[in-house]
Subunit: 290 residues, 2 copies
């Protein structure tokens, strides 16, 4: 039996025979949050298309680069379930790393009035994490978390939140109760949300799944006392090593809200206690409640 | 008298009448560091071309967006002094923010063998910082620094370093002596470099100058005990408000070196004590000494 995971089915892309570098995908209903498809899922989808372009050895003998080392997404309009087109461009093939770009597009409207709208534009540099020096040193420390069973499951979220968050059915997310005051109207104001994360169907983490992980928790703005929707303008992630199987620990922090914008920093740690991904996003604080 | 500052002269761009969106610039000898032109200067130049595109009101009445809110640069090959071409693309014009892209290109080689090589590709979302809500709250604290006169001036750097760093003549840079152990072969290993920064000719900071500021200090890798050159793969900066005139304080930190890569985080504070810019870059640690 080779059951395909929900995540792999969702980020599947099919290359067009007549248009090299262009891929088709179909976004489902299962990854929605608030008004659109989760931004981390869109990033993983875009990252998958780039892996298809940059992962194999190039025609002129440059080595393949399957893993995103640094990837930046600029969000332009909310992604929705339905047909999706990905147009990639190879910016530079190199010996050690390669850079590519991809636009994620969907049709808005019907018939003659339909327009192809860009949802997100992504620029990324890929390498091969398997070939990198295994040495690592860090002064960062993994978040201290109660055991998963002592944490708050996303299934316990308020019904009015779950209604707009089919994404949460795809995840096994256990939040540290010290960081879930927002869910009962008592945000700590600390600007920290942390928890355990894995995919609900048991699909193990890999570099593409980490692109989902950095944007899969409730927005840290909630714990700052901002209950509104916080659309992401930009998110950049660094994948630092291939994650070990098992639970991930994700730590979100935000320090500065100014001019109506806040940054959200994510750190992702694997079950071996290694810092496997870092990200930062700039999001807009709005007054519209989720 | 309207003396043009060294910085403004360096980031000056001239639009091509016959090629809308394409600009010419001329990089000078004065902003070199290590093997190329400083990456922050290239980012400011790219940011200037995008300001030219996105700053004025659009043909269909969308408001102008002169300031980079989030800007990501993917470095492809080292920039060198000489003629430079910038090709911009407006990705999306919106009411609140607009997104654009720019490629910075230079000719490599002479005559028939010459090729136009991309130095850096930049994706950015612009807004109007003057229109943003002035409210700001942060749990970040500005770096504690001795007075500028009690700090180590860049002019005191080792001659073998200065020889390859004409950039330092453009800056008035005063490093906290607690973070300059690297300069005398005794790096602290703390992964912190901090100091005061302003332009040597007195040109006051603005959002474009902040794009230089986030990449103008010696690499924090030096203070981690890595004396080699650390080429930037990717740098993303968020400009959070327009800086007040006067000294900037810049705080660089790095926490994780893994697989031969490290991240460098920069925070920039203005003379009014506000966090005006944040950046993170992914850089490669090399064994080749500066």
């Amino acid at each position: 039996m080779t059951a395909v995971s929900e995540f792999d089915r969702e980020i599947a892309v099919t290359g067009r025979a007549d248009q090299p570098g262009t891929y088709d995908a179909e976004l489902g209903q299962g990854w929605r949050i608030g008004g659109g498809v989760n931004g981390g899922l869109l990033l993983a989808l875009a990252g998958h298309a780039l892996r298809r372009e940059l992962g194999p050895e190039s025609a002129n003998g440059m080595p393949g680069h399957p893993d995103p080392l640094a990837i930046s997404a600029y969000y332009l309009s909310p992604g929705v379930p339905g047909p999706t087109e990905l147009r990639t461009q190879v910016v530079r093939r190199g010996r050690g790393v390669s850079t590519g770009q991809v636009s994620v597009l969907q049709r808005d409207g019907d018939g003659e009035g339909a327009v192809l709208a860009e949802r997100v534009r992504v620029l990324a540099t890929y390498g091969d994490l398997a070939l990198l020096d295994a040495d690592a040193s860090t002064s960062a420390v993994p978040p201290e978390l109660p055991d998963p069973d002592a944490c708050v499951s996303a299934a316990q979220a308020p019904p009015q939140f779950l209604k707009h968050a089919s994404l949460l059915d795809r995840l096994d997310l256990r939040l540290d109760p010290a960081t879930t005051g927002w869910a009962v109207g008592k945000p700590s104001g600390n600007g920290v949300i942390r928890g355990w994360l894995r995919l609900a169907d048991g699909r193990e983490p890999d570099p593409l799944m980490l692109l989902l992980a950095v944007d899969a928790l409730p927005p840290v703005a909630f714990e700052l006392g901002l209950p509104g929707w916080t659309p992401t303008l930009e998110l950049t992630a660094h994948v630092r090593c291939r994650p070990a199987p098992g639970w991930l620990r994700v730590n979100l922090t935000s320090r500065t809200l100014s001019g109506g914008y806040l940054e959200e920093d994510a750190e992702v740690w694997d079950s071996a206690g290694r810092l496997v991904a870092l990200s930062r996003q700039l999001a807009r604080a709005t007054s519209s409640r989720r």
